[in-house]
């Protein structure tokens, strides 16, 4: 079986390398991409959309349809992860560990044992990851707001500098994952629950498709943001710039929510009780 896999890999890899010989050389000025497509974007992006970053305008405006389905792919990944991993039946764990906060003593409660969940003096801890990291938690508490503000900056500043919805969304999701790692999964879920993340997954796609639909209702093509000029009271060129920002916000929300969903389900094996 292993040798068949090796032969198949070598054959397909060789085929790919052989086919890539037909590509124009890297950086060839006469290749079709460089002679027709790229010059148009380089010359017309600023006057069409008033966005200095050409990559952002190609991603969200000229090729907005592609990006919408990329967003839907990410949304589908999140939904598939929920369907595959999430266990909706609550299974009581074999043992639960509680830490008595004033003294640091750990209590072990066997299955079926009763324990007050809302006591101020006892805190439930994971059975796999018990250290009480004061330095780590304090550092994360201080650094997470800055990470989140940076993520929002990356989304909002995608017009002028590298960045955009995907990157900003991932950074925002990473800040929540960092919180879940530094504290524990239950306190992260308490702050950003499962229903909220699932709702945000759908909301982002809805924002993206909704912007396109509003454009259609105003008589333009799907995702032709210049139709938004009437609603926002600006000229059509600025409207395209603002439309890009709107869909980037939608993309950011989807990506953030899906990253959090993936982490919650992977780290807790679908139980969303004890995690990494």
């Amino acid at each position: 079986m292993k040798s068949i896999g090796a032969i198949l890999t070598v054959f397909l890899g060789g085929l790919l390398i052989y086919c890539s010989m037909d590509f124009p050389p890297w950086g060839d000025p006469d290749s079709p991409a460089n002679s027709h497509v790229s010059p148009y974007y380089i010359e017309h992006t600023l006057e069409d959309t008033s966005v200095p970053n050409i990559v952002t305008s190609v991603l969200a405006d000229y090729r907005g349809y592609d990006t919408m389905f990329e967003t839907i792919v990410i949304f589908t990944a999140g939904i598939a992860c929920i369907f595959l991993l999430r266990m909706f039946k609550t299974v009581e764990p074999e043992t639960r560990l509680y830490r008595h906060l004033p003294t640091g003593i750990t209590l072990r409660i066997a299955k079926g044992g009763k324990f007050p969940d809302d006591s101020d003096h006892f805190k439930r801890i994971d059975s796999d990851w018990v250290p009480h990291d004061l330095i780590l938690q304090t550092t994360c508490r201080m650094i997470i707001p800055f990470i989140q503000i940076f993520a929002l900056y990356v989304i909002a500043h995608g017009h002028h500098s590298p960045g955009g919805g995907f990157q900003g969304g991932v950074i925002f999701g990473a800040s929540i994952i960092l919180f879940a790692i530094a504290f524990d999964l239950r306190s992260a879920i308490k702050r950003m629950g499962e229903r909220l993340t699932a709702f945000l997954c759908a909301l982002g796609v809805f924002i993206y498709a909704g912007v396109g639909l509003v454009c259609m209702l105003y008589g333009n093509n799907f995702l032709d943001y210049s139709a938004l000029a009437d609603i926002m009271g600006v000229d059509p060129i600025s409207a395209r710039s603002h439309g890009i920002l709107m869909v980037e916000v939608g993309v950011g929300i989807v990506v953030m929510a899906v990253m959090v969903v993936l982490y919650y389900n992977l780290a807790s094996a679908g139980k969303q009780d004890e995690g990494l």
């Binding site: 995907f166 950074i171 990473a174 990253m259 992977l266 094996a269 990494l276």
Partner: protein, 81 residues
């Protein structure tokens, strides 16, 4: 472009890719894969594709490594083959 730097990074990329496939410990494979993504990010930045480099750094080197580590944490650290 300084071609020496590019060559060194390309060689590191290949070594990391082979290492990530060959290593038996899946946690090490996840870490090697993160390092691989980071080297790819440097390559994108050298080629001038800053947006792609940013995405690679945040998605490839950042979140996907965390997801791999979470998956290894819930399954086994050793590969069967």
């Amino acid at each position: 472009m300084i071609w020496q730097i590019e060559l060194i990074i390309l060689m590191i990329v290949i070594v990391l890719a082979i290492g990530a496939l060959a290593v038996k410990d899946l946690l090490s494979a996840a870490v090697l894969f993160g390092a691989y993504s980071f080297m790819m990010c440097l390559l994108w930045a050298i080629m001038g594709a800053v947006d792609v480099a940013f995405t690679e750094a945040s998605v490839g080197a950042g979140v996907s490594t965390v997801l791999f580590v979470a998956a290894v944490f819930r399954t086994s650290r050793r590969t069967k083959d």
